[in-house]
Amino acid sequence: MNMEAQLKMQAYLDGELGPSEAAEVQRLLEQDAQARQQFEELRAVRSLLRDNEPEYRLPESREFYWSKISQAIARAEAQSAPGREDPAPAWALLLRRWLAPVSAMAMVFLLALAGLKMLSPNHDYAMMEIENYSEDLMVSTFRHPTEKVVVFWLTPKTYDVAAKPAEEIEQDELMYQ
């Protein structure tokens, strides 16, 4: 069996052949015992690998691994931080002079819109309060912005901090805009 035929047989095994070439390989397998044997070997290795992918575990602690990553991110961000902006050209300064009153009016308009939005019954500007009475548990909060869900999660305290008294959570801390 030549190399081309063997590769076609492999491609048939992997579902990479079109209908006419696949039919050609099927005929070959029906007629040629050696081809069948080789096909079976390829099929067996393929199954063996797919069912038994070796498992590898990170050989260092996750905390150490993450600490290196977070440091690398900080370094990368420090390197890409923008420098001082060049002073604006004269035409930009002139445009700014005329834009200032327009933007002041735009801000008033936006504030008025925000005021109207406050009237929506679903909009929520009040502060939240959490009072935790448990000595063993602490409360974490999370707000999912698209699913409209606020989660209060109780976790065992792992450090020696007294239960917090009434805690005011600013809405801004939870609104991630």
């Binding site: 005021g115 679903n122 929520d124 939240m128 309060e129 999912h144 989660v151 209060f152 999660w153 109780l154």
Partner: protein, 155 residues
């Protein structure tokens, strides 16, 4: 900007603020609340240890999967009740767990979680239709329970 234009914008701002405060005060009126609470068990196991617990609806499963890491969610209990204006109502969700809800001024409610008869925590926050509040915790590091609190109706 001319002085006239500035004065106009000032007056406009004052009118908007007054209207806002008037409409805001309308929102502070009393209301009776119809509240639904579900006690849910979250797990990666195919079944809940208690055969009586049914899986939550597919829509709710999809929603919970977007928020939490577990694959399957089972309804342990589902109660709906009425909280009269400026009053409290306790909802018993299991032998060990109760939630007391108090209707307060504006859209705010006070939610108290009781574990084995003792107050665990108290949360005061607005409760609005379309938004759910979850109080939950992990169970033995692998599973979880949460109480899902939703406002069904107010009148």
């Amino acid at each position: 900007m001319t002085r006239g234009a500035y004065n106009f914008l000032q007056r406009l701002g004052a009118v908007v603020m007054a209207a806002t405060m008037m409409l805001w005060s309308f929102g502070a009126s009393a209301a009776n609340l119809e509240i639904n609470l579900k006690l849910i068990w979250g797990t990666n196991d195919a079944k809940s240890p208690n055969p009586k617990h049914k899986p939550v609806s597919p829509e709710l499963t999809n929603k919970l999967r977007k928020i939490f890491q577990w694959k399957n969610y089972f309804e342990v209990n589902d109660v709906t009740g009425r909280v009269p204006s400026r009053q409290s109502k306790k909802f018993r969700l299991s032998d060990k767990c109760e939630i007391e809800i108090t209707e307060m001024e504006g859209p705010k409610v006070e939610i108290k979680l009781y574990g084995e008869g003792k107050v665990v925590n108290k949360i005061t926050k607005p409760l609005v239709k379309g938004e759910s509040v979850f109080i939950g915790a992990e169970d033995k590091g692998e599973n979880s329970w949460f109480i899902m609190i939703s406002l069904v109706n107010e009148d």
